[in-house]
Amino acid sequence: MTAPQIEVFLQTLIAGFLLGGLYALIGIGMTLIMGVMKIINLAHGELMMVSMYIAYWLFTLFGLDPYLSVFVATPVMFFIGVGLQKFLITPVLKVDSILPENQVILTVGIGMVLSSLAMLFFKSDYRSTPVSYATSAWYLGDYWKGSPIELSLSVPWTVSFVFALAITAGLWFFLTKTDTGKSVRATSQDPQAALMMGVNVDRMRMLTFGLGSALVGAAGCLFIPIYYLYPSLGGQFTLIAFVITIIGGLGSTAGAIIGGIILGVFESMTATYIGMGWAPVGRFAVFVAALIFLPGGVASLARKRKLGK
């Protein structure tokens, strides 16, 4: 490979990695919900869209930096999530129907309502938050004068990535070190047993849905400095989240991180070497391959290793 080729390759890899970190955050929210409730939340991306609008209006009306809006939008999304679980999803879990997929279809309905309400109120305009640092970057040449290749690191992408890491670390702490977090994990592993151990499963479900929504909400705030916002943006992120969950393995937080990064790098590579338009196809190719060849996701590989097989 010649120097420019290496440059393109490394730059693509970096971009993929940064994207992957954000994807991971979206994926973790999804995998939590799937793990605890065994349902797929197809309104996941739409919840992120809602959060992005919150961040957008906070910026446009009050000039609040999108990164600071994380602290506003995330709690708001938490309560929206709890409300959805309490008033819509829980009742459906109790209804007898021919198709067990009713819960999944319900979340589709929720997603449709959210995205078309956004369309009604905000029109289908593309919006963005023109922050001052939107296009600034760090260049390798500035730090290492004799570098044979030139690489750059976008400031907003990097900041978003670091935020995503911090939130993930916080979540990990919550799930492994706090009693509530442990209850969530117990519910995920065996709801029957958790119930008998005195865990309030219904409350854990509400908490989990809230938490999943909050995480994707945070991801929305981190995406808005680097992405355009429009009402129908949710759908593709729902799919991304689902693909990550499948790659990573259902209910596995670590798996979701790995899955997010795999997907980010893969998409970035497809976009560079095959063409922008094909990136979604690459996404689904990974998805279908994971479904067929790795039904338990990355997490299942780790588990096998542990048993010494």
Binding site: I98, L307, G308, K309
Partner: protein, 238 residues
Amino acid sequence: MLDVKNISMFFGGLAALSNVSFSVVEGEILALIGPNGAGKTTLFNVVNGFYKPSHGDIFFNGTRISNIKTHRICRLGIARTFQVVRPLQRMSVLDNVIASAFMRAADKKRAEEIAMDILQFTGLYDDRNVISKGLPLGKRKRLEIARALATQPTMLLLDESFAGLNPSELNESIDIIRKIKAKGITMMIIEHHMKVIMAISDRIIVLNYGQKIAEGTPLEIGRNPQVIEAYLGEATNA
């Protein structure tokens, strides 16, 4: 008729079955007993093709069945019932049985005939139009047997078909088992109810922790000290 040779089944690192071998002779009722978690249902799942054994082979009338799919095993003549009853919930009792009768019926008319016969045979004829979700447990257990019979098996695997029955239902079911035996159908049954086991089985195999610890006639098993220690003591106390 059925030859199980050195079957082992691992889940993760745990052995649910280890090196189990036995044969079932045509026409007999072979009971499979053992404490909970001994691997009885796992053994059924292996014979019936839900699980592929980690080691060993199973032959049915000389055909190796340990590597073929469940529906083909059924076609070869092995039918089963489930411990947790699994009727096709939203279908009527009759439709449940018709659905299984189709396997050997040329057309719907024939399938209906088979199904009607079997419903009379199992005493479910009067309930034929009930949606199976609404049946009481005793009858659902019997529906499981009816469904399995409708595939016209030569061998029947019954997984706790007597659990949870009241005394009169129990006697009815024992009668049905005897009638099935009279038809020449070979049976393997998993059962906890020792009275039933002693009354109907020709031979008994005892499993404990996935291993076969004894095999013999009911009388022999009743005298085996190892079995008494592992299982019978616990069951008679219960």
